[in-house]
């Protein structure tokens, strides 16, 4: 009796499953599911995120930083001062991008290249890994060239980073950014040329279009520089991304904000800034 019951239940279950079985033959080779869209922008706040521009997409960024909050009401708490960085980033192919930029008050021109080595896979490889190389050259005036001690290579500095990011869930992404900044010329006595720091960053989506971002760079060997904490909001409105942030660094390029920050949050060295980015599809 039990056996008959078993057979009948088998028959019934096979009938119930008939519909799903129809599609099950399509699922024989389950495809690798990559995890996309770890961050909204190519930067977390100031530092690079693991996101690259897609192939053929040109991104124009206007970055703006005001003065420190503790500069008093005479300076409208820093809003009287401002500096700008303009940059263009272009997606060369699906796994690499190239960018150039210029910072106004620093008079530094920079170029960077990001290469994605691998992507996070659902129930597979845990990280998206991107390497970032950047070079910076400080502009000079003709009067400086005439000086005897002028050497072109002294104007250069470099940043090398390996970025590891993981989308923990659909709202939260965390990133580790070990960084080396190399200066061809350092300004202070006993200052090291290679500065190591370790960055941690992340984003938490608050709504479909707004996310809270944070990043922290811890100085590993040059303790004269402050650790850098930056907080920001990304607001996406379709073609534009607006980023509003607060940081204890006023600079926008890696060697300056990571390894040349002196102010501390607790002393009121808090700088307000914003980025506006717009993408253009140049090539399909």
């Amino acid at each position: 009796m039990i056996r008959i019951f078993f057979v009948i239940s088998c028959l019934l279950s096979s009938l119930v499953n008939a519909q799903e079985n129809l599609l099950s033959i399509l699922d024989e080779d389950e495809k690798t599911v990559y995890i996309y869209y770890l961050f909204k922008g190519t930067k977390i706040v100031n530092s690079q995120s693991v996101e690259l521009n897609s192939k053929g997409v040109l991104q124009f960024n206007i970055q703006h930083r005001f003065g420190p909050l503790n500069s008093g009401k005479y300076n409208l708490y820093g809003l009287d001062f401002s500096q700008v960085r303009l940059s263009l980033d272009y997606g060369i192919n699906e796994w690499s991008s190239f960018g150039i930029g210029r910072s106004s008050s620093l008079k530094i021109i920079d170029a960077n290249s990001k290469i994605r080595l691998c992507r996070q896979v659902k129930a597979g490889f845990p990280f998206t890994i991107v390497i970032n190389f950047a070079a910076y050259i400080k502009q000079w005036q003709s009067s400086e060239v005439e000086k005897e001690d002028f050497i072109l290579t002294n104007q250069l500095s470099y940043t090398n980073q390996v970025l590891f990011a993981r989308k923990i869930n659909r709202n939260l992404t965390l990133q580790f950014s070990p960084t080396v900044v190399h200066y061809n010329l350092v300004e202070k006595l006993n200052e090291v040329n290679d500065k190591y720091s370790f960055g941690i960053g992340g984003r938490q989506k608050l709504t479909q279009r707004i996310s809270l971002n944070a990043e922290y760079f811890y100085q590993l060997n040059d303790k004269r520089n402050s650790n850098v904490l930056s907080l920001g909001f990304d607001i996406e409105t379709g073609g534009h991304v607006f980023q509003l942030h607060l940081s204890n660094s006023s600079d926008m390029i890696d060697p300056k904000f990571i390894t040349d920050t002196n102010g501390e949050w607790l002393n009121g060295y808090i700088y307000f800034g914003f980025n506006i980015s717009r993408v253009f599809t140049i090539h399909n």
């Binding site: 056996r3 057979v7 088998c10 028959l11 096979s14 008939a18 519909q19 129809l22 599609l23 033959i25 399509l26 699922d27 495809k31 599911v33 995890i35 996309y36 869209y37 521009n53 897609s54 192939k55 053929g56 997409v57 997606g91 659909r170 479909q208 279009r209 409105t237 379709g238 073609g239 993408v279 599809t281 399909n284």
Partner: protein, 174 residues
Amino acid sequence: MNRINIIILFSFLSFQIHAQKYMGVNGEILFYSEALLEDISAVNKNVSAVYDATTSELGFQLYINDFIFPKALMQEHFNENYLESDIYPKSTFIGNVLDIKDKEALVEGDLTIHGKTKKIKLFGIFINNIDSVYIEAKFNVELKDYNIKVPKIVMYKIAEKIEIKVKIELKEIK
């Protein structure tokens, strides 16, 4: 008793083997939407389908993130904000061919998009050759039926009704 069990089991297995089934994996689904600034279209060339001639069951399946858009940002918004492909990676259709006349068929079944299922009924081209089946169809879906929300202020504002074109050739499974 054991023998009966085995016989029943075998009869089921043999039924599975002898069922005349067709399958295709390189189908194409194109969707088109009129929008304020520019029309939006995308194509998915990895659509797969099965047709069981003995039961006239017809099934389609695709991965949402296989849709290719002319602009990367549209693709991002499509996956992230509209279709939420991380939660609902697949879209499926499971139904039956009710009637075949000449080269046209009436199909009815459940279309699942964005985790929501709705019954649809449509006519399409259905050419059943000896070892293959060719299917072509055109229909509309309404975003509200599948709980796809379009924000009020957005650059790529899309229409409430989306036109979908399907094209696939299925080969007999030997």
